[in-house]
């Protein structure tokens, strides 16, 4: 019998638990290279109220089993997204999750208001990893109060499910997770990238023009798993796990730790077909191990 890969998360029916993470996969764009309808859901690059130019290059540095990026949330702004990208993205069958970012609470609120007028959006992901310009550039997600303010502002304007995407660059991720849930977040995505840097010894300069960047890829998987595990112990809402996933067994590790679905980011950057391979391998793994449904793994970690 074919194993059942489907999962349901905050009312979203996914035919498998694998979706791209925001910013790592061209949506729209990659329909040119593959059938996007094989994915569990579609998550777009974070959109802000106004267009953002992004950081100057170099924006990427290779690291051990991973990479640093400093794209700076380059995006054409929510109006452009609605007029140009959304009509294309609506044609695909997997649920569409729109990632919203902003530099003030008001920007999140206004972007949500504009998106609310549109059909074809299944849920929002709130990227609280951007600098909060009203708090000296500290990321919203680094403070429980700022996270709560952003989530509450979006919550007030939508009945669509909200996933708040947490940053690992905090002392206690559980505290931030609880704040997001209290403010009305239906689910959580974790983790975003870890703040890092790379230095070119010959030039005695940082590799990234922005000096600092976000670390991603297999190198961060243990940190991401730990975050998912800790948060899953503390909150009841569904979790989407992300950070360094590049194989079917990685997916199952995140489900065991407490995630109900996963996002693949950096693995797509090395191989655009990574998710399709992971989904095929997942099905094969379950069949070989006589597991009827992938859901059997969710939160099923044995700790003693």
């Amino acid at each position: 019998m074919k194993p059942d890969l489907s999962v349901e998360i905050c009312g979203l029916k996914l035919k498998n638990p694998v979706m791209p993470s925001s910013g790592s996969f061209g949506l729209p764009g990659y329909e040119e290279y593959m059938d996007l309808n094989g994915l569990g859901a579609l998550v777009v690059k974070s959109i802000t109220l106004n267009p953002r130019l992004g950081n100057p290059p170099p924006r990427i540095a290779e690291t051990t089993a991973g990479m640093l990026n400093a794209v700076g949330i380059q995006n054409p702004g929510v109006k452009w997204f609605i007029e140009n990208d959304l009509p294309l993205l609506k044609r695909f069958t997997p649920p569409l999750i729109v990632s919203i970012a902003g530099t003030t609470v008001e920007e999140f609120a206004q972007a949500t208001e504009l998106l609310e007028k549109e059909e074809g959006i299944a849920a929002y992901e709130i990227n609280v990893s951007c600098p909060n310009i009203e708090a000296g550039g500290r990321a919203f997600g680094m403070s429980a109060a700022a996270t709560q303010a952003v989530v509450a502002a979006v919550r007030k304007r939508t009945r669509r499910p909200i996933f708040t995407k947490l940053t690992p660059n905090v002392t206690d991720i559980v505290e931030i997770a609880q704040a997001a849930v209290e403010a009305g977040s239906d689910g959580l995505t974790l983790i975003n990238t870890l703040l890092g840097m790379a230095i070119d010894v010959k030039l005695r300069r940082p590799v990234l023009a922005n000096v600092l960047g976000g670390l991603s890829g297999p190198a961060i998987k243990p940190v991401a798993l730990r975050c998912v595990y800790q948060v899953a112990q503390a909150v009841k809402v569904p979790i989407i796990g992300t950070g360094g996933i590049s194989s079917a067994t990685d997916v199952l590790e995140f489900l065991l730790a407490g995630a109900s679905a996963v996002q693949v980011g950096t693995a797509n950057i090395v191989d655009p077909y990574a998710m399709l391979k992971i989904i095929a391998d997942l099905e094969k793994y379950l069949a070989e191990n006589n597991v009827a449904s992938v859901r059997e793994y969710i939160g099923a970690l044995k700790t003693h």
């Binding site: 061209g26 949506l27 130019l53 290059p57 170099p58 990427i60 089993a65 794209v71 380059q74 655009p272």
Partner: protein, 262 residues
């Protein structure tokens, strides 16, 4: 279109001056690719090096089912690539990017290459020749050994001018009159540059003064190579102001008048 290919290396030879010439069997890729496009290569299996490396096509030989790249060993990835033996399989994405917009009716084109940057211009010159377009070439490098493609071009009857740092002839001020004379050759309809921002600025100025469209193949550090991650930013001027385009997908070939050559 599936852009994932497994290439079989048939030749990977040291050319001296730190350059290698790699030939690989990849019939689908060879037929689909155009000059100016590139492949994005995993230089070794596993996670070290972690990212792919981009290389432009040096020659495309669809009739033989082969593609060729010419590369310079500069770091970890290219070093590992240089160790590969014939018969090895290579994981590559391609063909990627927008190629050179060669005008099918051009009577003559000019190519201006510096160092390893000449590699993609060879594929362009070969395509130009195949459609009956004349080619003028100015090639620059540190020293004569670091000039690539000059013999191949000469064997095609292309008139090649070489300038080098060693002989003190490669300075933009000295290249200027040579470039001006080449652009002024009757019928020169397009000009292409790769491998030097200084030469690109020079070409932009001289070509603009003559109303000749000029294009450059640019480089930037890449992630996906497919337009999905936005790391390969290139600053461009548009009617709405300056913005960033993606070298991998909007380029790597851009009209010189559009790019900000810092």
């Amino acid at each position: 279109m599936n852009v994932s290919h497994i290439l079989t290396v048939t030749k990977n030879e040291d050319q001296g001056a730190g350059y290698f010439h790699l030939v690989a069997r990849a019939p689908e890729l060879a037929s689909a690719a155009r000059p100016g496009q590139f492949i994005h290569v995993l230089c070794a299996p596993g996670v070290d090096p972690f990212l792919r490396r981009p290389f432009s096509f040096y020659r495309l030989r669809p009739e033989a089912g082969e593609v060729e790249i010419y590369y310079q060993v500069v770091g970890k990835g290219t070093h590992l690539l240089s160790q590969i033996q014939p018969g090895t399989k290579l994981d590559a994405l391609g063909p990627l990017g927008q190629g050179f917009p060669l005008d099918p009716k051009a009577q003559r084109i000019l190519i201006l290459g510096r160092g390893i940057g000449t590699a993609p211009l060879i594929a362009l010159a070969e395509a130009a020749r195949a459609q009956g377009t004349g080619v003028s070439a100015i090639l620059s490098a540190r020293n004569p050994d670091a000039i690539i493609g000059d013999r191949l071009l000469a064997s095609w009857g292309v008139e090649v001018t070489t300038v080098t740092d060693e002989s003190g002839t490669s300075d933009p001020a000295q290249v200027e009159p040579l470039l001006a004379a080449a652009l002024d050759k009757p019928g020169t309809a397009q000009a292409f540059v790769c491998g030097s921002r200084r030469l690109a600025r020079l070409l932009r100025r001289l070509a603009a003064a003559r109303g000749i469209p000029a294009f450059g193949s640019l480089e930037e550090r890449m992630g996906c190579g497919l337009g999905g991650c936005l790391v390969c930013a290139c600053r461009v001027r548009t009617p709405e102001g300056e913005t960033y385009k993606r070298v991998c997908n909007d380029g790597p070939v851009f009209p010189l008048e559009e790019v900000v050559l810092g």
